[in-house]
């Protein structure tokens, strides 16, 4: 050890100090390239306007598609509508960014921060839908252009970017948000500026805004259905509730508690909330082990899931000894968590990538073609995919891009190409959809073990407020 630090060794250390970080940099770039190879980096998709840097940088690699032609959903034909049939002055009277060949929409998700792991899929799905719509002739003869903003997992940033998209860029619609926190932050902006938001995440309900369409499940379609299932199938009576500390898990657990205590006649043996981004679950896990609940009902969100499930596993809590039902883990999160940490646990979603129907098969194929063979598709990703299609249908039905007219035309719209099977828009701006329970497999996919009928959305269920 002495000689390395003597005069003779001085050159060693100097050289080493340059070589090692250099090696690190090279390794980082090469691994980045390995990751990249599963989702190519050129941007030739005409419908996606890359308004950030001109050349796609490595951070954008996951949201800039490959240049190959996009696969289309089955059974749809190229539209014959011509833009001239719908003169701009008639179809847009409220100062939106619509002209004779194009209409601009906004995409507002987190591509950085703790929520990026979950929101990147939504961005990809929305861009896929827009690409498909454009390939089929666009909306009212106009191609869709996209302005994408990064909410950076920070709610004030979401509000600011929402205002920018609506006031500055005057987009006709925004596909965006994931957490309820971000939605609550942007809601006042959308209501004041009379914008239109297509919100893809399963959420707690108790909201119904004229300016928002909720393409994800609300509480009755997810929480209540799953609790009923686990009570019936597993005879679960005692529950331990755990979630991240913000509005969605808190409200979800409030609803869950009411359902467990009043309807299922069970007991809640514990309720814990950990801050978003938290990575220390040791004490909480010990508390859970102490109480020995029949079911752990989990709503841990985003990156925290990785630590949560890893530490559960490390503490010996596996599916063999404990039933765990989560409402916040989709294929996207499993990518980060690692399938081996989740095997045997249950998740309640309305969509799983492994769904066996023709719509889903072609959807998965089209998605993988655009974003890479290794892509995974979660529930929110699919719901994000529905957003542009619902908007398109409503615009065509209304014959106009004006928000008020689009909103009025939306109820009863059906999307028959939905990968989850079939959805219909309800007058309360939510969707009719099914609830499904999936069991985690080691490869990161989910085996569907239960499927309900179409559930009518009810964001204000009596007795749960």
């Amino acid at each position: 050890m002495q000689s390395v630090f003597s005069n003779r060794g001085r050159g060693y250390r100097g050289a080493l100090s340059l070589v090692l970080p250099g090696a690190f940099l090279c390794a980082a770039l090469s691994i980045g390239a390995c990751n990249k190879s599963s989702s190519a980096s050129t941007t030739t998709d005409s419908s996606a306007k890359a308004e950030k840097a001109a050349a796609p940088t490595p951070t954008e690699r996951s949201t800039e598609a490959s240049g190959a032609a996009v696969l289309l959903p089955p059974g749809l034909e190229k539209s014959t509508i011509k833009a001239a049939d719908y003169p701009t002055a008639k179809i847009m009277t409220t100062g939106l960014k619509v002209d004779d060949d194009s209409v601009t929409v906004g995409i507002l998700h987190s591509t950085t921060g703790t929520m990026a792991i979950s929101e990147t899929g939504s961005v990809q799905a929305e861009k896929l839908a827009i690409a498909q719509i454009n390939a089929l002739g666009g909306i009212l003869g106009r191609q869709i252009k996209v302005i994408q903003e990064d909410g950076a997992s920070d709610w004030p940033t979401f509000a600011e970017k929402a205002r920018k998209l609506l006031v500055n860029d005057k987009v006709a619609a925004v596909m965006g948000c994931w957490t309820s926190a971000s939605r609550k932050a942007v809601l006042p902006v959308f209501e004041k500026e009379n914008g239109l938001l297509y919100y893809p995440t399963f959420y707690e309900g108790l909201e119904q805004s004229k300016n928002v369409f909720y393409t994800g499940q609300e509480a009755t379609q997810q929480i209540l259905a799953s609790l009923d299932w686990v009570n019936k199938e597993k005879g679960a009576k005692s529950f331990y509730l755990i979630g991240s500390d913000y509005i969605w898990p808190r409200t979800s657990m409030k609803i869950a508690r009411k359902h467990i205590e009043n309807v299922l006649k069970g007991t809640v043996v514990g309720e814990e909330f950990a801050p978003l981004g938290n990575t220390q679950f040791g004490s909480i896990i010990n508390k859970i082990k102490l109480k020995k609940p029949d079911v752990i009902f989990a709503a841990v969100v985003g990156g925290s899931n990785v630590a949560w499930f890893k530490q559960l596993n490390a503490a010996g809590v596996t599916a063999a000894t404990q039933t765990l039902l989560t409402i916040s883990v989709t294929e996207d999160e499993v990518l980060g968590i690692g399938g081996e940490n989740l095997t045997g646990f249950f998740s309640s979603m309305k969509y799983f990538q492994s769904l066996d129907n023709p719509n889903n098969k072609s959807f998965v194929e089209a998605f993988k073609k655009m974003w890479g063979e290794k892509s995974v598709i979660g529930d929110v990703t699919q719901a994000g995919y529905l957003g542009p299609w619902i908007w398109k249908a409503a615009v065509e039905k209304a014959g106009s891009f004006d928000v008020d007219k689009v909103v009025a035309a939306s109820p009863e719209i059906e999307i028959k190409i939905a990968p989850e099977g079939y959805v219909k828009v309800h007058a309360n701006h939510h969707l009719w959809s099914k609830a499904r329970i999936g069991k985690a497999k080691p490869d990161g996919q989910w085996e569907v073990v239960h499927e309900s009928d179409l559930i009518e959305p009810n964001p204000f269920p009596k007795g749960y407020q």
């Binding site: 940088t57 004030p156 920018k164 932050a185 004041k192 500390d245 509005i247």
Partner: protein
């Protein structure tokens, strides 16, 4: 006695007038209401920048927790506005009408005790001034009497910022949690979201900022200001000369806290919400950089520094988001290593001689006056 009655020099006054002209006349004329609102937001950060000139530039006390006071002021105002927006009629779909929505989601059925006084605007304004002053007083007395200074003080202010932000996020029912307090609509019936309101708020904000700038300049020109400078350089000598160092430091700390709180309250009014992401460590340290870029000794420089950094942030995060943090990091490093006196220092060293040369070449009355105005704008700030 001369020191106590030393007046603000004519040059300083001209500098302030130039600043006021830019903020109150130039910007509203040039920018759309959307951008002007953003500038109003930056100007609220400038309150923190100015406070740091007093505290750090002159007093040598680096506080990495100014976000705490910014947040305290902001939350006080937000609580008042939220209570006004949560009247029983508009909240009738809630389980418990008449309380803020986030309390309803958290199964709270009665307004907590500490929220009740915020129904009155007078109390709110008093709270904005007194609550931060109180907290800073306690922290100041506890720290400075024990002679905790320099780096240790900086770390402890960081810890305080962390504590407050964790507390706010953790007590979701009482504070709105990580979402903050959103959806603020009216202030005593006046709709703060309308364009006209935004203009008025911008001018009020600008006026308050100019007021703080003048106040800080005046404070720095008094004996107290001299003492602060002395404290920064040789604290022990000041102590040996018989002054109670802790008292002066605490006073400076309280003054800066109140200024930050005013900025926070104006922020809430202009932006329409308040969240814990302005309270924690990252925003606090960012606010330090505004002062550092502008020139930590120059009050006017701090305002310009804030505007510059925030303009750059908005521009780059829209156009080149990947580049932005590299630039920000580089700015920190550059400001510390290459130009520690910030923009004001650069102006002193390069701008002023140039202007003087130009002025002396022309040698006409109006130009000399302009040169003097520009000079004073950067001199003592």
């Amino acid at each position: 006695m001369n020191l106590l009655t030393k007046k603000i020099s004519k040059n300083d006054l001209i500098g302030v007038i130039v600043l006021a002209a830019i903020i109150l006349v130039l910007f509203p004329a040039v920018f759309s209401i959307f951008r002007l609102n953003l500038i109003g937001k930056y100007l609220t950060y400038a309150f923190v920048g100015v406070s740091l000139v007093l505290l750090w530039g002159n007093g040598g006390i680096l506080s990495l927790g100014q976000g705490v006071f910014f947040g305290l002021g902001g939350y006080c105002m937000a609580m008042f506005l939220k209570l006004e927006a949560s009247d029983p009629i508009s909240t009738k779909i809630q389980t418990t009408p008449g309380i803020p929505d986030f309390m309803d989601w958290n199964q709270i059925t009665r307004l907590p005790l500490f929220w009740m006084p915020f129904k009155s605007l007078t109390f709110t304004i008093l709270a904005i001034i007194l609550v931060p002053a109180f907290f800073s007083f306690i922290i100041g007395v506890a720290m400075f009497k024990r002679r905790v200074g320099g780096v240790y003080f900086a770390i402890i202010t960081q810890a305080v910022a962390l504590i407050l932000s964790v507390l706010i996020v953790g007590q979701q029912g009482l504070t709105g949690g990580i979402n903050g307090i959103t959806d603020l609509k009216t202030m005593h019936g006046w709709d703060i979201r309308s364009d006209s309101a935004k203009y008025i708020l911008y001018y009020v904000n600008g006026a308050l900022l100019i007021g703080c700038v003048i106040l800080t300049r005046w404070v720095l020109s008094t004996k107290f200001g001299m003492l602060l400078l002395a404290l920064r350089e040789k604290e022990d000598r000041v102590r040996f000369s018989g002054y109670d160092v802790a008292n002066f430091k605490t006073l400076a700390f309280c003054l800066s806290a109140v200024m930050c709180a005013i900025g926070g309250a104006m922020f809430t009014l202009q932006v329409g919400f308040m969240s814990p992401s302005f309270v924690g460590i990252t925003p606090s340290i960012e606010m330090v950089i505004y002062t550092a870029v502008g020139g930590r000794m120059s009050v006017i420089g701090a305002v310009f520094g804030t505007l510059l950094v925030n303009f750059a942030k908005t521009f780059f995060s829209e156009q080149y988001p990947d580049l932005w943090l590299f630039l920000m990091g580089g700015t920190f490093i550059g400001v510390v290593m290459l130009f520690p006196d910030g923009l004001a220092g650069l102006y002193e060293r390069y701008g002023k001689p140039f202007v003087a040369r130009v002025a002396s070449k022309k040698k006409s009355e109006p130009t000399v006056a302009v040169a003097a105005a520009l000079e004073s704008g950067g001199k003592h700030g």
